[in-house]
Amino acid sequence: MTATNDLWVFLETHPDGTPKSVGLELLNPGKRLAEPQGGKLVAVVIAAEVSAATEAASRYGADLVITIEGPAYAHYTTEAYASALTYLVRKYQPATMMIGATGNGRDLAPRLSARLQTGLTADCTQLDFDVASGVIAWTRPAFGGNLMATILCAEHRPQMGTVRPGVFKKSEPVGVRAEVIAENFDLDLSAIRTRVVEVTKEVSVEVNLETADIIVTGGRGVGGAAGFALVSRFAASIGGVVGASRAAVEAGWIPHAHQVGQTGKSVSPRVYIACGVSGAIQHVAGMSASDTIIAINKDPQAQIFTIADYGIVGDLFEVLPILEEELRRLGRP
């Protein structure tokens, strides 16, 4: 088979076979970018059970879905997924490959790029078509968000990029059916050298900061684990996920999985509510892409107010209970 102009989106799945949100999100810019390159939008599903993700890919606008199904893909391993994707890329030769910048996506994409000897741009937050060169212009933050860089991969194929979850919105579902190719790939099980010993899901609420719609973050001003109970209660009342600043994590008030910022997660929710967060540049680097930022802080000089859309100068212990009550009151018909 010869090289195509197709744009591929790798649709990472949950253990139950449903697709992670970021893959469906990527089909939206994928459609827009596949057209000027003169190619099809292709979703790639590799899973133990591909039907749910195949169905979703079709609904969210893929022209073609290529699948590999097998029990070896029930739990993510670098080598099983890298082998399967390499097989597909070599066979079908897409022009572009996009992968969600999840933990597994960031594990898989660079491994694949080295195997395919091609360029990869990590953690993109903006995707454009560069008319002059006819390739994708991948834009990503660097230096903790202080600088944006636009990167081209002009001569190597596929041009690869990982894209942050939550940056793009899913398109409206369509009724058109995508063509489906169920590929057979004979995976060499001995090529999987790591062994999964155990999997521990975060016991309380799933800390899915990167796909959260609303994040309520506690910082140093929260003062302790008890303060986080208040933050958590408020977050739960508005359907939000709890985030934390580095100071709060290092003080041992909350696990690192909640940390937002340079040594934590990069997030871009619709609403970000920072409580008792000073707004150090490392923290801002991880949340400045949020749509709307709300700050609650006792210190009127706190840096967080310079990037907040809305703010209240006040004690979070006083503000949060009133805010919760007010929202509940306004929510009632």
Binding site: N104, S113, T150, I151
Partner: protein
């Protein structure tokens, strides 16, 4: 891996051959102090403090913790960068590293991540051949805080045909495997990594230990082996530097600064909170409040 390198079988019980660990490190500007030249949109590097990439420091601490339990472990550190990057190597030697390698050559300048990973993999092969033994484990940070790409670890693993674990939080030796706790988006998983293998580390709940005064002094006198392009026989010149890089930076710019927004300052504070709550509801920012959700 070259067939000329003897495959030592590691003996975590301390008998026989000792374990050989390589930590890949990078000297990075302290991003807290970063300033951008508004005229040229480039980073002002002058006067900006250089530090050991924090994620690499967690990798070094992980290796050092293994060595705490098994003193025979040898820790080497390797970096690619300008000559002045020797500072971070000495910093690592003041903590725990026994040997240090500086990969430096103007011909390596302008390398993107793939070219960098290729050079590093070639340098690692070179050191293994020189020393006549393999690295049983290669550790590095999951990403560097300047580029934030997180690509070099997995790419080096691929180019050396090693199994990999990324975003490691902690690890321990168990028989002839390394058990690594890997941070996932929604929890953790414990993976058994056969040796040789590569692990990248994320931020654990500890920091790198400070150097001891004795080691700090000793580190000043230790040798650093410099490796240039000419040392790396057989390196493909078409895969290094700017010319050998598949990606090219088209432009770099400073993201538009967000300007401060509306501060609700009505007194008493209840009034401000009420105004904020009203706005959140009016703009559909908060829709489903607990108890009212359908």
């Amino acid at each position: 891996m070259s067939s000329t390198i003897p495959m030592t079988s590691p003996a975590p019980d301390g008998g026989g051959t000792c374990l050989n660990i390589l930590v890949l490190v990078k000297q990075v500007p302290n991003t807290q102090a970063i300033k951008i030249d508004p005229e040229t949109n480039t980073l002002i590097r002058d006067g900006v403090e250089s530090i050991l990439n924090p994620y690499d420091s967690y990798a070094l601490e992980a290796a050092t913790r293994l060595k705490d339990k098994l003193a025979s472990i040898k820790i080497s550190v390797l970096t690619m960068g300008p000559a002045r990057a020797d500072v971070v190597l000495r910093e690592c030697m003041a903590i725990s590293a026994d040997a240090a390698y500086l990969v430096t050559d103007r011909r390596f300048g302008g390398s993107d991540t793939l070219a960098t990973s290729y050079i590093l993999s070639q340098a690692i092969r070179f050191v293994q051949a020189q020393e006549g033994r393999r690295f049983d484990l290669i550790f590095c940070g999951k990403q560097a805080i300047d580029g934030d790409t997180g690509q070099v670890g997995p790419q080096v693993a691929e180019l050396l045909d090693l199994p990999q674990v990324t975003s490691g939080l902690a690890c321990e030796l168990a028989g002839d495997e390394l058990l690594v706790v890997r941070e996932m988006d929604d929890g953790t998983e414990k993976l058994a990594l056969p040796l040789p293998g590569l692990v990248t580390f994320t931020k654990p709940n500890y920091s790198l230990r400070p150097p001891s005064a004795r080691r700090k002094l000793a580190a000043k006198k230790l040798d650093i082996t410099t490796i240039s392009a000419d040392d790396l026989e057989g390196i493909d010149r078409g895969r290094i530097g700017l010319k050998g890089s598949p990606t090219r930076v088209r432009k770099a710019y400073v993201p538009p600064a967000k300007t401060g927004g509306v501060i609700f300052s009505a007194q008493p504070i209840e009034e401000s909170v009420r105004q904020l709550a009203q706005l959140l509801v009016d703009r559909d920012l908060v829709v489903n409040v607990e108890g009212d959700a359908p």
